[in-house]
Every structure is written in structure tokens, then in C-alpha cells.
Symmetry: C2
Subunit: 267 residues, 2 copies
């Protein structure tokens, strides 16, 4: 399971002011904690700054790299910000988050993906003006993105399809639509990856953590092999390890048992 | 989701001595708590008493029925014990747990199933001397049982196939084998039910509750629509409600929201 640590996001309280005051120590502590907790990528997102996003993203990339060797996930809808961040990038293969079928977003980012041999999140939206409604919409968006990216030479194994998680509070079919999309995308394009965030699914609902924790496990059952989450949430990380053992993806349950010995598993 | 409350089982400490001293108040309190917590069936199992099992099971049936109207799950490998219990049965449609392909077990129980128009757990074992190894073994056992039962006039909708859960600590493929079997059985025999206990999966592993809780959710994703568990375990029951909402089986998430208002959901 590929874990993308989501904490360094300027839409979170504490993070935005830390970036504004260029508080490197605060950001670096967040990066180190996530790497130590098992993040495979440390996400950096400062989209809330709009015009100043490229400048701030470049600063985040440099600041985080001073303290961890973990690859980064450069997270922005703005190709100029991604480009500004990549100029300073040196932590191995980056994950670019994200391309979609909207406008020229994929075409703008493809040269950067090629230059850095980057992994890329392919967000299942953009063919129409609307959010994807059902599993079929998501598979259609995924197919178009995979065709665009592979035609440009991006290997299937570098693509992480994000099915776009929508709240079950808006429509109770939204959870199942994502699960079915994951299953179909993984079956139709062997070698591709799938990834998503969890928190949107529970928007507007009570006891959101209960839903988020269970949605993670349901997505893994459907084949999800990447996830964007807070790796300091020990219960979420414990669910990842438990689900991998139960799904036969942890030989001899060694990772599960080692995590227990290291006192990383919680109820 | 059909919930079978598993607490009144003489293999559990406290229950065995309560049965031995004919402590009706203790057993009745266990029955009432489980019914109040949402059990659709209250399981009664006193298999540990061997020769005296029929007598004790009859006493359990009568004792529980004095305080709850919830249907009972008569749980024994011994058809004579089931028969002794059914003689006193009056709480609606019972669930008989279980028939299998072993020896004459199915043929011995079929007359009772017919007489009481009972629901029945069909345990996926018995064609060979060994436990089922993989999903295919389980589907083969299920097919034979479903044929035996439906030929005898038992409606498919009265059959709860139990795929037989084995520990992942023995073989890490054991979890996935059950999940694949559930998926295939539900797809191959539309209208049939599936049911299982959870605790075997984690036998010999650390932090068993974490595995049991997640296995429940994985089984539900595969289509499981019945489960044998402790309904006083609020986290397990919360996972049932969360998973039903996330799988689109709870219209407008009403059951989830009501359970939250009733303060029945926990993390």
C-alpha cells in the first residue's frame, strides 16, 4: 500500500500560518513525523495561496527536503506551481497530483512528467463539466486519462488513478460507485494503480472517523493500492496493516506482527 | 445485515457454570442484552456438555424464551440436541446451526428444517475429511449443500451458507479464500444468504479485535449478509452500520444517523 501523508496542506489550520511566516521548523517537524510513521510520499499542497502558490510550493519542496529523503507528492491544480516545485526537487521519483481531463491540464503537465519520469495521480474528472456520478463515469474518465498519458510515454505503472470520492451524505450510492470503479479500473488496466483520499466520503455525516476508517478497508478490498491520509492517525495505519494481512497481501502476516511488536497497532 | 448474538455459548467462561447451576437469571440477562443491542437471533450453544446437550439445549430454549421474543439460533452439531430444543421452540422462525456435507448430518436435520420451516446455516465442509483449503473448495461444498437442501424443499432464501473461516496465522491466504467464496456464492446462487463468525480468522495473532473488526467489513464488501458476533461489542456493531452506509445499503444513511443519535456508534 502506497501511503501519501496529507498533513502539509495549507488548507489545514496551523499549516497555512506556518507557511506564511516561513516557519521551516514547523513544516519540517510535520515532514519528519509523517516519514517516521510510514509515509511513502510526503504531500505538499499550498493551493490556497493562488498567485503566490508557485513561490510557496518551491519553498515547501526545499524545506521538506532538508530533513527527509522521502519522495514528495507535489499537489496542485496549477501546472506552474508544480513546475516551480519540481525545479528544486531532488528526493527521488516524485508523485505529481494531479492531471485530469479538464482543459489543458494533462497536456501542460505531460512535459514535466516526462522530464522527471514522475508518477502521476490521474483524477477521474473533466470530460464533462460535472463530477462523475457513477462507476461508469469514473471508468470512462480513467480510460481517457490512461490513453492520454500512455500515448505520451508514461508507463501504466506510474499512473495512480483517483476515482474521485464524493460524500455518501449527498447520495448513498457514492461509496459503492467508487468501490466499483476501483475494482473495474484495476481489472481493466492491469499494472495501473488506484489512489484516493478518504475524508470526502463522510462530509456532512456524524462520527466521520468511523466512516473514513471503514471506507479505507472497503477500498482496499476493491483493490485500492494507494491512499492519501494522515499517517499519524494510528488507527487508519493499523487498518491498512490488518486489511493487508486479511487480504493475503502480507506474507506470513510479518508486517502486521512486526508493527504489533513495535507497538504501532491500535484499536 | 442479520445479526446472530453469540454470547450464550457454553464454551465461554461464565456461561458454562451458569448453565450447570441452572441460573436462569444469568442466561436471561445475556439474552435481553443481546436483543436490546440489535441481535436478530439469539444463539444458544451448549455443545460442550456432550451427552447432556439435548437436555441443556431444551432448558436454554425455554429459559431464553421467557424473556425475549427474538428468534433463536439453535447451535449444535448434534441433531438430537436440535430436536430436543425445537420441541420447546415458539419464538417465530428459528435458525438451525448447522447442516454440512458430513455423514448423515443434513439428512438427519432436514425433517426438522421442514417441520419448522426453519432457516438453516449450511457449513461448507464434509465432502472430504479435510477443512476447505481455498475458495473453490468452499463453493463446491456450498453447491452440494444447496442442492441437498433445495431438493428437500428448503427455499434458497432460508439458507445461510457459512464459508468456514480459518486463521490467517496458519495460512495468509485463508482470509482471501473466504472473501472470494462469499463473492462467488452470492453471485452464483442469487437469493441465498451467507453468514460467518469472525474470531477464527485471527486465532494465534496479536490484537485479534483489530483483525476481527476489519474482517467483518471485508466480508460485507464481498456480500456477506449475516454474521455471528457479540452484539454488545459496540465497535463491531458500529462497523456494521458504517459499512452498510458506505456500501449503499442504508437509504439516506438513516440507520447510521439514527444509531448516532441513540449514541450507539463508537470509534
Amino acid at each position: 500500500m502506497v501511503i501519501v501523508g496529507e498533513r502539509i496542506n495549507a488548507s489545514r489550520k496551523n499549516i497555512r500560518p506556518a507557511i506564511e511566516r516561513r516557519d521551516a521548523a514547523f513544516i519540517q517537524a510535520e515532514a519528519k513525523k509523517q516519514a517516521a510513521a510510514g509515509a511513502d510520499y510526503v504531500d505538499v499542497n499550498c493551493g490556497v495561496f493562488l498567485d503566490r502558490e508557485p513561490e510557496y510550493l518551491a519553498w515547501l519542496v526545499q524545506t521538506v527536503q532538508e530533513v527527509v529523503d522521502t519522495p514528495l507528492c507535489l499537489d496542485s491544480p496549477n501546472p506552474a506551481a508544480i513546475a516551480a516545485g519540481l525545479k528544486h526537487y531532488r528526493n527521488g521519483i516524485p508523485l505529481i497530483n494531479s492531471v485530469s481531463n479538464e482543459g489543458t491540464r494533462a497536456q501542460d503537465l505531460i512535459p514535466l512528467i516526462q522530464d522527471y519520469n514522475a508518477n502521476v495521480v490521474a483524477l477521474c474528472m473533466g470530460l464533462t463539466g460535472a463530477m462523475p456520478k457513477d462507476a461508469a463515469d469514473r471508468v470512462t474518465e480513467a480510460r481517457a486519462l490512461i490513453e492520454t498519458l500512455t500515448t505520451a510515454g508514461v508507463p501504466l505503472g506510474n499512473i495512480y488513478v483517483d476515482p474521485v470520492v464524493c460524500p455518501i451524505g449527498n447520495d448513498v450510492r457514492n461509496g459503492l460507485a467508487v468501490l466499483e470503479a476501483i475494482r473495474e479500473i484495476m481489472a481493466t488496466f492491469p499494472g495501473v494503480h488506484t489512489i484516493c483520499g478518504l475524508t470526502n466520503v463522510s462530509h456532512g455525516m456524524p462520527l466521520r472517523k468511523l466512516l473514513n476508517q471503514n471506507f479505507l478497508v472497503l477500498c482496499m478490498a476493491a483493490g485500492l493500492d494507494g491512499v492519501i491520509l494522515d499517517p499519524l492517525d494510528q488507527r487508519l495505519m493499523s487498518n491498512v496493516l490488518a486489511a493487508e494481512a486479511l487480504l493475503g497481501r502480507d506474507d506470513f502476516c510479518l508486517n502486521y506482527i512486526r508493527a504489533h511488536r513495535a507497538e504501532r497497532l491500535v484499536l
